[in-house]
């Protein structure tokens, strides 16, 4: 029995020391990507608290296992002996039911408070900035509703630093998930409903946007970039886009325009999102998911290019695979638009 008591004390000491070291290491690890939103702070703190609680629980279990093995391992001569016939101890059982219950209860309350905090609407909720995010296989599109019912579209995300932004997220085909790791928030884009979250960017810079819900072959490539600008730069950007969009208002697949379709505008349009996957110098497109069109189309015929767009699986560019490039352009483009697009590609890539 005395030996037992000494062991318990020894265990306690080892446990406390190991927990301290464990917590120190766990907190020293640089777990997160940069924290670039107001929401990141409380989440990261919650994470630290969870680590501080988890480490001792793990240490406790491990230390008891190791000490039991050290202390009570069968010694020569004990081959046929049995341990002490202890069937239970109500007090202990009450203790190890209550303590975890209390820990769990506090964690849940804390997590709830954090949740409320990160989802809280700003004081000026009605005038909060909104961005509509559309996920489709395999590109993102961002729309900025403007006064007067106009919208500005882009396939990279631009937001001003320091204002709360609410995203209205929709999906065109299957589930996607709009995640900016640096902002910590994510939510699925669900066909048929609009989902939301809000963040307040706190750091200037460029952060990856990641699609986090399996959406098919191009899931891994469904990336874009979030640019956090100073408010003044942001309004300047908006104004530029506004000006551009008023001249290209009718660009985009299937849109009914009386004028002859313009291949370049089609290529750059956010509905078709060609530039999110392809590199094309003339359109300043730098996507890398699909082939670099400047290179591969150098000697392609017009008919080939048309086929490449209308039925991408008919012929697969070397090193790439079928199924990533959307299959429905034939439906989304009128024949005239398809011709215009292909002609444009042929002219700008021909050597």
């Amino acid at each position: 029995m005395r030996r037992g008591n000494r062991t318990v004390i020894e265990m306690l000491v080892v446990g406390v020391v190991a927990s301290a070291i464990g917590i120190a290491i766990a907190l020293a690890i640089d777990w997160f990507p940069p924290a670039a939103s107001k929401q990141a702070g409380p989440i990261d703190t919650l994470w630290d608290v969870l680590l501080i609680i988890s480490v001792p629980v793990f240490v406790l279990v491990t230390v008891v296992v190791l000490f039991s093995v050290r202390e009570f391992r069968m010694r020569p001569g004990q081959e046929l002996e049995d341990g002490a016939p202890i069937h239970g101890n109500t007090r202990l059982e009450v203790i190890w039911t209550t303590i975890p219950a209390v820990i769990i209860a506090s964690l849940v309350v804390y997590a709830y408070l954090v949740l409320r905090d990160i989802e809280k609407a700003p004081a000026n909720a009605s005038t909060e900035m909104r961005v509509k995010v559309t996920g489709q296989q395999f590109a993102w599109e961002f729309e900025y509703p403007q006064a007067g019912g106009k919208t500005i579209k882009a396939n990279q995300l631009y937001v001003p630093k320091g204002t709360s932004v609410k995203f209205d997220i929709v999906a065109k085909d299957v589930l996607h998930d709009f995640w900016v790791p640096a902002w910590r928030m994510k939510i699925d884009a669900v066909p048929g409903i609009t989902t939301h979250y809000r963040i307040t960017p706190t750091k200037l810079g460029e952060y990856p946007i990641v699609c986090a819900e399996l959406c098919g072959l191009g899931h891994a490539f469904m990336r874009a970039t979030a640019h956090v600008l100073t408010p003044s730069n942001f309004s300047a950007w908006l104004k530029r886009q506004g000006a551009a969009s008023s001249t290209t208002a009718s660009s985009g697949g299937g849109s009914t325009t009386a004028t002859k379709p313009d291949g370049k505008k089609l290529f750059a349009s956010t509905e078709l999102a060609c530039s999110s996957c392809h590199t094309l110098a003339d359109a300043k497109a730098t996507g890398t998911t699909g082939p670099d069109l400047d290179k591969v189309l150098a000697s392609a015929s017009l008919a080939d290019i048309k086929q490449d767009i209308a039925s991408p699986n008919a012929e697969i560019a070397a090193g790439y695979q079928a199924g990533i490039m959307p299959q429905d352009f034939a439906k989304r483009l009128t024949p005239a638009e398809l011709t215009a697009l292909a002609t444009y590609l042929k002219t700008v890539t021909a050597k």
């Binding site: 690890i29 296992v65 093995v69 069937h87 101890n89 849940v108 669900v190 399996l214 072959l217």
Partner: protein, 630 residues
């Protein structure tokens, strides 16, 4: 016709299978002709064949023969018990109604799928060793992780537990067999059908199913034919587990030996009782979720078409209402195994036996109230999240009771560090880690960030590998002598444990970090920033794969030529150890009578079960199992 295709068996099964395919072809063409569609449609024929042909196969195999006779009131074949026991390896490839044979069929069959599924993981890790494309394209990669998870869940973890329990549970409760031996045989034979179907999907036009083991709509409703092989394969695996669960429940309720009250049952029996309840109640939901998908795909139903009023999130609710309980279906039997091993290898009664039983039931009940923790970022009604967070976190309490009671069972025991015990101790620590990451995931704000990242992949493997698979290894080593009559090689067993333990952690621990740092799951390609860790993970994972080969070698060589096992190598008290190794064909000459608890180690003179004085001394220890201690 040659004899072999007329006698029930694999050959006749094969012939009937072909007949089934021809039949499906006919049905498909006829129906389509009636509806004025193109008569021949490959997808439609394939779907009907996948649904119908397996029944032809099973009938050919002889799985239904008895029932046909019984239902028609014809005299059933006189029960000469020729189907009991296995006389040669060929008997394992037939319909056999002996629970011990079925147990071995199940276990070996499941391990085949562990190796196949593991091999897919090796390929995945090869692709993920570096950013960019290595060996496989995105389509194959998505197929690999989908099939990897589906095989390991539906054809390894769930059935292997059913297999181990099939072997030992009737012995443990003193029953001569399961309640419905023929249903038991049918349950087993449904599995190869599911397995072949899922594996076969790699040969389907358009590639294997590739929407993950979760098969979320609408990705799954618009995927090529391979998806049907998941959708339909799961139905067969699910039917198998429901049938087995019914069988376990009825066996446990109606066939316990005299004196075996509920609170004298070994905890493994309690664990399988709880698991079977989960299966009976939850599994119909995955069946239904896949029916929906099948109807949407095959007949153009609109369950998941938002354009026509369908609801995409409904899939996830129905799916997780099964699949969260399923994670406990994959863990509770393991808890039972650990209780058996810890008690007998620490030579001490289980600490707090009743609380151990009640905490199982608590997990069963709570398990039905937490499904939406998989949907915190799914866009569902946001008010559901907080109640689900609370219930989810509460599960840590009954689970904690179990962990702490096991620790207390070790304390002041006499610990024998045999291989099963090493795996049991490894389980205690590794499952705690997995459980803790589960509690972290339950906290909504953290889950919002880490959901769908490698942090989840880390959690999955800590609970499923460090939890379930460790208990399976422990259980297989523990009952190997009973099942085969041979001892395994202890040295190789220890080597297996240590290599597995080390490389398991080296493989899966870093995934926590890269997940939080921002690496999403289910991607074949990732950003440069994660390259270093992924290479390290891949290398460790290959060593982890190699460590499994030690196990394979140990099992095969020991089964063929290991030393003969005594009837009770672990000096355990539960009834399965009181009969010879392997047990006699009919388990007992006369039923044992239970006179005490199952874990009365160290209690002077305590006995769990006695055998009535048998007329012949056949069973190895037909005398009462007095304890060998002084």
């Amino acid at each position: 016709m040659p004899e072999i295709v007329r006698r029930p068996g694999l050959a006749r099964g094969g012939v009937w299978l072909l007949a089934g395919i021809a039949f499906s072809f006919g049905v498909s063409c006829l129906t389509r002709a009636l509806y004025h569609l193109d008569t021949i449609d490959g997808d439609s024929i394939a779907r009907i064949a996948m649904l119908a042909a397996p029944f032809f196969f099973l009938a050919g195999l002889g799985a239904f023969s008895y029932w046909f006779y019984w239902a028609s009131g014809k005299p059933t074949l006189p029960e000469d018990h020729s189907a009991h026991g296995a006389h040669s390896w060929k008997d394992y490839f037939r319909i056999n109604t002996d629970h011990k044979v079925i147990g071995i069929q199940y276990t070996v069959h499941s391990f085949v799928f562990l190796f196949i599924g593991g091999l897919m993981a090796m390929l995945m890790r090869a692709e993920l060793a570096a950013p960019g494309r290595q060996f496989v394209d995105a389509s194959t990669f998505n197929g690999l992780f989908s099939v990897h998870a589906s095989l390991l869940i539906f054809l390894f973890i769930i059935p292997v537990f059913a297999g181990l329990a099939n072997f030992v549970l009737p012995l443990m409760i003193g029953a001569p067999d399961m309640a419905f031996p023929r249903l038991n045989a049918l349950s087993f034979w449904l599995l190869p059908i599911a397995g072949v179907m899922m594996l076969g999907s790699f040969f389907a036009p358009g590639g294997s199913f590739s929407s993950g083991w979760t098969a979320y709509a609408p990705l799954s409703t618009s995927a090529p034919l391979g998806q049907d092989m998941f959708t339909i394969g799961v139905q067969f695996a699910g039917a198998s587990s429901i049938a087995t669960a019914l069988n376990f429940l009825v066996t446990i309720i109606t066939m316990r030996a005299p004196g075996m009250s509920f609170f004298r049952m070994p905890l493994l029996v309690w664990a399988n009782f709880s698991t079977s309840l989960l299966v009976v109640i939850a599994t119909p939901f995955i069946a239904a979720s896949q029916f929906f998908v099948l109807l949407d795909r095959g007949l153009g139903f609109r369950f998941f078409d938002p354009g026509e009023g369908g609801d995409v999130l409904m899939y996830q609710h129905v799916f997780w209402f099964y699949s969260h309980p399923a994670v406990y279906i994959m863990m509770l039997p393991g808890f039972g195994i650990i209780s058996e091993i810890l008690a007998s290898r620490a030579r001490k009664p289980i600490f707090g036996y009743r609380m151990m039983a009640f905490s199982l039931l608590a997990i069963v009940v709570l398990g039905f109230t937490v499904w939406a923790h998989h949907m915190f970022v799914s866009g569902m009604q946001s008010w559901i999240r907080v109640p689900m967070m609370v219930t989810t976190a509460i599960i840590a309490v009954p689970t904690g009771i179990k962990i702490f009671s096991w620790l207390a069972t070790l304390w002041r025991g006499i610990i024998h560090l045999h291989t099963p015990m090493l795996f049991a101790l490894g389980f205690l620590t590794m499952f705690t880690l997995g459980g803790l990451s589960g509690v972290i995931l339950a906290m909504i704000p953290v889950d919002i960030h880490v959901s769908d990242t490698y942090f989840i992949v880390a959690h999955i493997h800590y609970v499923l590998f460090g939890g379930s698979l460790f208990t399976i290894f422990a259980g297989v080593y523990y009952w190997f002598p009973k099942m085969t009559g041979r001892m395994f090689d202890e040295g190789l067993g220890k080597l297996h444990f240590w290599t597995t333990f080390i490389f398991f952690n080296a493989t899966f621990a870093p995934m926590h970090l890269i997940g939080v740092e921002g690496m999403p799951r289910r991607v074949a390609d990732y950003s440069e920033q994660f390259a270093g860790w992924n290479l390290a993970i891949s290398i460790s994972s290959w060593f982890l794969g190699l460590s499994t080969l030690i196990f394979l070698y140990n099992m095969v060589s020991s089964w063929r030529g290991g030393p003969r096992a005594p009837s009770n190598p672990w000096r355990a008290l539960t009834i399965e150890w009181q009969v010879s190794s392997p047990p006699p064909v009919f388990n007992f000459d006369s039923l044992p009578t239970v006179v005490g608890g199952p874990y009365e180690y160290g209690v002077p003179g305590a006995v769990h079960a006695v055998f009535k004085a048998p007329d012949q001394p056949v069973t190895a220890s037909s005398s009462s199992p007095t304890r060998e201690a002084h």
